[in-house]
Symmetry: C2
Subunit: 110 residues, 2 copies
Amino acid sequence: MPSQTQPLPDPSSPAGDDPVLAEFRKSIDNIDAALIHILAERFRITQAVGKYKARASLPPADPGREQLQIARLRKLSEEAELDPEFSEKFLRFIIDEVIRHHEKAQSRQG
Amino acid sequence: MPSQTQPLPDPSSPAGDDPVLAEFRKSIDNIDAALIHILAERFRITQAVGKYKARASLPPADPGREQLQIARLRKLSEEAELDPEFSEKFLRFIIDEVIRHHEKAQSRQG
């Protein structure tokens, strides 16, 4: 992360010209590229899971598994000082997308 | 990722007993732990950005920056074979949370 020792810029200038903000944004952009690639890999795996569940006639959603995932991620979040509420919302957001994919795979099989 | 050469399990047994699914789930759990830690770092940075923006009287949201981020992540997603629509929804989800944090930081300063 960039240091914050530089003088404050003129607030009337656009944020894009702010050198402190520009440094922060470079770190955010690197992190976002990492997130996109990790998410791409997660969906590669859940796509294979979807195909497997469709073949094995397993239901797309698994509420018991989801409860275990939520509990585990909330614990990890606390250790990483991330809001556990947010991590739960985040997992829900991802799982909803995965279930949509699984339902599509299921309907292609049926 | 686990191989899919094992025989299909009895569909009446719970998914948790399925050895193929158990292997997939180990990979998903590893990926989720990585996502949580990367997200924790992203929010550490945006928390610093929020404090800086509040000090510098910069607005919490920056629609021009967001458009650039969306365009960049859509391009990265295509390269990684991730649905670009999903990556846009994902960034929107994260940015909405960040803006909520910035507004809180702003109101603490004001």
